[in-house]
């Protein structure tokens, strides 16, 4: 028996016995974090004698622990914000290059300059360019900067005039493909399950459980999860079932599931399909909706009347879901009939040959999905009866980014539609709706479905990415940014491009590592004569910059998140949230808002810039900014606080309380469904007539201008199986490479945080090139061996980690590493699949514009 000793604890942790030193400054400061799309989360940071030493979830105000995303909890990422403050490699003065030669391994010869010199140099150059055409400047920036958390950056970006838009998630950061179709289908920025109520999740290629932050974890934990992934990801490890699918064949699985539901189970939410989708619309032999000759409106078959009628005719009887009809002597079929016919071929036996998941398993999953959907059930929430369909299909980046991603996204939405789970309680929701676009998303178009948004064909294209000419649906929430870098280096013959960009303004993101084919991006970037990097550290883009403007980190600055900006998945609360400085910034750094205000003033568009601030931040009288006066960011923040609370609270109040939040109402949470029913708008599935039409117009326009190298064959109305682009890779490249989001890094740029990197080592395989142990044995490769990973465009060398939890034909590599310049991150000496991921027009999805994210390589010992 151990003798127990009473020990009065006096020092920290009861260890030293020293009396606690009285701290002069010892406070917890409320703020919010939005470093990933799962936020915002409410946090508070602990500052002692001027040093921030800790963070925790903020539960200091009523409701904070109940309604907020993080419910008083933390994901690993915010600790990285503390580390960034004290990163000794921060840029701490404006810099200019003295060595004209540029390269990742070339010393720029930095010299420190004054802010006046730096800002005047940039302003002078930008002013000259802007006077001719603002598109002479191209720009990329961190995704949160466009979510209202980048100070006045976005106001500057817009007010400057149309810069060449090179942002977009073509790289590791974003799935991209879903954004434009989440909008087209249900007026949203992205999709997610109704996390609080879902019960059955089919997760394809997504590591959402740990990477979804607190929100993902707390809520997904309750649902049964079937994870389809070539690798036993952390999500798969926590799932009820792991199905190691052959990479790039998810479409075959989804088509087979649709086949089973329609042809074998026959269990459908017919009421939903008839009334809230275009299933009953009649389609003619040309593959387009049959329209009323005088009104031009699409027709449906009214079974009661036995005739075709306009989709929104009053007193419509029961609509035909299936069948072949004759209208004006023309044979036509319902959209659902066409779906049924097209899906006939996609049997589970067919699918198993492609995706290597047993047919019996596919049948069981389909049955479970349908059974869990509880078709026909309703739930009463706050007195409102709503459809209850607690099932969803989640697709991750390898599935929604790459060639055929449109087919995948469409199949995903058809799957949930068949059981009526689109925007239902527990079902497939649109999240993170952006009000500016949101209204467009569910505004009824002429055909009774949400008004689609796409680029009109523009020739020659005005941007070097050529999106207006080649990928029209990228107009909303999308941008095939990788095409910009291709066109800068090796444009297709005869492509007329605007004058090349004269300057590149970069705020915080890292295009060199977040796209693909790193060497190509570097060579493209070097062609831009003047690069301005707003950066807190000496990263790869900064290495190529001419002027460096060092900014504040997230713990040194203000932001206000306005209540209507986004709801996001879960939709549990609305609020006005303050981000506030926890510590003093380095003396010679400046906030992003100061930097762009000075630039707007010196370039000469302060008036339009201030006007845009008023618009973007909803600042109304009497707090509006005067147009020709220069404001400090803290003053603007105070005005935002007052304006958003109608004068009730100022910045000082928010600094003390952190946020005002209220729980969302049932109407808020299920607003899309309620809106669609009220306005009689239908989801544009299963039959994407609009995509087919846009594709045909695009084909005609491209033919007119003599482009025959860009295909539009994927602009189809119904999903179909198309062989993977990877089938065209020579057989010697015998491994697939898949990738995943890591919870410590995803969306957080934490790879230059030493403590994070140390902790990460605890999970084997997240850093390494992960290889199946049996496959490695066959090749004489042992744990830790150095190997070359070679794709058709290049090779990289790294250490192998072995695992049984990955298919024998697949490697895993994260995309968040591979830095060669960024301090701390480069010391990891880990590989990034992005470096050898080919980017090309052929490997770009024709409809979503996303770049291929799963690639093929060969592996051999170094």
């Amino acid at each position: 028996m151990v003798k127990q000793i009473v020990n009065e604890t006096k020092g920290k942790g009861g260890k030293t016995g020293k009396a606690i030193e009285k701290k002069k400054d010892d406070v917890w400061i409320p703020t919010c974090c939005w470093f990933c799309v799962m936020g915002p989360c409410l946090h508070r940071y602990h500052r002692v004698d001027g040093t921030v030493i800790n963070v925790e979830g903020n539960t200091s105000e009523p409701g904070f622990d109940e309604w907020t995303r993080n419910q008083g909890r933390l994901c690993p990422k915010p600790f990285g914000l503390i580390e960034k403050v004290y990163n000794p490699y921060r840029v701490k003065s404006p810099l200019k290059r003295t060595n004209p030669e540029k390269g990742l391994d070339v010393d720029p010869g930095w010299v420190e300059i004054s802010w006046d010199e730096a800002l005047d140099t940039v302003a002078k150059r930008f002013k000259e360019i802007r006077a001719k055409d603002p598109r002479g400047v191209c720009s990329t920036f961190h995704s949160v900067a466009q979510m209202g958390m980048g100070g006045t950056w976005e106001a500057f970006y817009i007010a400057f005039g149309p810069m060449q838009d090179v942002r977009g998630g073509s790289g590791m950061r974003c799935g991209l493909g879903v954004h434009m179709f989440a909008n087209t289908i249900h007026g949203a920025f992205r999709c997610s399950p109704d996390t609080n109520n879902t019960k059955y999740l089919l997760i394809l290629g997504s590591n959402v459980v740990p990477s979804g932050g607190v929100c993902g974890n707390l809520n997904y934990a309750k649902a049964k999860k079937i994870v389809v992934d070539p690798m036993l990801s952390l999500t798969a490890a926590k799932a009820d079932e792991w199905l190691p699918i052959k990479p790039g064949t998810d479409i075959a699985l989804m088509l087979a599931l649709i086949h089973i539901i329609i042809h074998e189970l026959g269990t459908l939410d017919e009421e939903f399909l008839k009334n809230l989708t275009n299933s009953s619309y009649l389609v003619g032999a040309d593959g387009h909706f049959i329209r009323d000759k005088s009104s031009g409106k699409p027709l449906v078959w009214d079974t009661a009347a036995g005739v075709a009628r306009e989709f929104n005719a009053p007193d419509l009887g029961d609509l035909a879901l299936e069948g072949i009809y004759t209208v004006d002597d023309q044979e036509c079929k319902t959209a659902f009939q066409l779906l049924k016919e097209q899906m006939k071929q996609y049997t589970p036996e067919w699918a198993t040959e492609i995706c290597e998941i047993p047919a019996a398993t596919i049948r069981r999953i389909a049955k479970e999905f349908v059974d869990n959907a509880q078709i026909g059930s309703t739930i009463r929430l706050d007195g409102i009866d709503l459809p209850y369909r607690p099932v969803d299909v989640i697709i991750g980046r390898p599935v929604e980014a790459g060639v055929h991603s449109y087919q995948n996204i469409l199949a995903q939405h058809i799957l949930v539609s068949l059981v009526g789970a689109l925007e239902s309680v527990g079902g497939h929701m649109g999240g993170c709706a952006h009000p500016t676009y949101y209204d467009h998303g569910i505004k009824p178009g002429a055909d009774g479905m949400p008004q689609p948004i796409y680029h009109e064909f523009t020739w020659p294209p005005t941007c070097w990415s050529g999106c207006e000419a080649f990928v029209p649906f990228t107009k909303i929430f999308g941008h095939a940014a990788h095409l910009f870098w291709i066109n800068m280096t090796n444009p297709p013959p005869g492509l007329p491009l605007p004058p090349p960009p004269q300057a590149y303004l970069r705020f915080r993101n890292n295009a060199i590592h977040s796209v693909g084919e790193t060497e190509m991006v570097v060579s493209a970037m070097k062609k831009i004569p003047f690069i301005v990097s707003i950066s807190y550290t000496y990263d790869e883009v900064t290495q190529l910059a001419d002027i460096v403007l060092p900014d504040y980190t997230e713990l040194e600055r203000y932001d206000v998140l306005s209540p209507d900006y986004r709801l996001g998945s879960g939709r549990r609360f609305r609020g006005i949230l303050l981000r506030q400085p926890i510590v003093e910034p380095p003396p010679n750094n400046r906030d992003i808002s100061y930097i762009v205000t000075e630039l707007a003033d010196r370039i000469g568009f302060l008036d339009t810039y201030n006007n845009m601030i008023n618009i973007r931040f909803n600042i109304t009288d009497p707090y509006k900014l005067e147009l020709n006066k220069k404001y400090e960011w803290v003053d603007i923040v105070d005005r935002m606080c007052k304006s958003l609370t109608k004068g009730e609270h100022d910045l000082e109040w928010f600094k003390e309380h952190g946020a005002i939040i209220t729980p969302t109402t049932t109407e808020d949470q299920y607003n899309v469904h309620l809106h669609m029913v009220k306005e009689k708008i239908r989801y544009p599935v299963p039959y994407m007539d609009v995509v087919k039409t846009v594709g045909e117009n695009l084909q005609a326009n491209l033919a007119k201008v003599g482009v025959d190298w860009w295909s539009t064959k994927e602009y189809v109305a119904l999903p179909s199986y198309l062989p993977s682009v990877l089938d065209t890779v020579p057989k010697e490249y015998d491994f697939y490479v898949t990738t995943s989001r890591l919870p410590q890094y995803s969306n957080a740029s934490n790879n230059d945080c030493a403590l994070h990197n140390e902790v990460m080592q605890q999970v084997p395989g997240q850093y390494e090139v992960l290889m199946n142990a049996g496959a490695a044995r066959e090749r004489g490769i042992k744990e830790g061996d150095e190997v070359w990973i070679e794709s058709p465009i290049g090779r990289i060398k790294g250490a192998v980690g072995l695992s049984e939890g990955i298919r024998p034909d697949t490697l895993f590599m994260a995309g968040q590493f591979g830095q060669s310049v960024t301090p701390v991150a480069k010391d990891l000496a880990k590989l990034s699949v992005n470096a050898i991921t080919p980017i090309s027009y052929e490997w770009t999805d024709q409809v979503t514009g996303t770049m291929q994210s799963t690639i093929k390589v060969k592996v051999y010992k170094a």
Binding site: I5, G14, N217, L755, V759
Partner: protein, 213 residues
Amino acid sequence: MTRYGMVLDLNKCVACLGCMVSCKMEHLLPPGMSWCRVLVKEQGTYPSVGKTFQPIVCNHCKDAACVQVCPTGATNKREDGIVVVDYDKCVGCRYCMMACPYGARYFNAKRERYFPGKGVTPLEEASDKELQTGVVMKCTFCVEKIEEGLKKGLKPGVDKAATPSCVANCMTKARYFGDLDDPESEVSQLIRSNRGRQLHPEQGTDPSVYYIG
């Protein structure tokens, strides 16, 4: 009598490592030292393979081997069951590290820095004030938080400010803390209803950390 203990739900842990980062920041731990870890293990052969995530901390054993072997009394057990180390008494002999069946103790040999050659960061300066070198360290159940909380009338395991930070911050709510001697506490109820297990019970140390799930 109070005996503080922890319950870790293996079903809920997703190996996000938030507890590790949280612990390291709470105690300003130097490079190479983590009082709280998550062991990730793969079991089986493809395709019948699974991964398990097992969070581990000091077990604060009722019959702690480390306390028995400590020659100076530096490692001692408080009345509330928490095993602590008095750095001023620790001579760095490391017998306790050999005695601990769980590998839960760490020797802070010398000052290690996260950014060699780049000086000392303010975080490391703060760490230096708290952590001595040449002594053995380990998880303290954040005893300082508990004591401060109790002074304010808060309840450890219930009120965040009086709860170990790995528990308070865990994003999957996989960790619980409370009084094992109170049959009505959440931890006692969880252990009862989920057949809570201790690590290596055959060692006879009677850990205060239980696993469920």
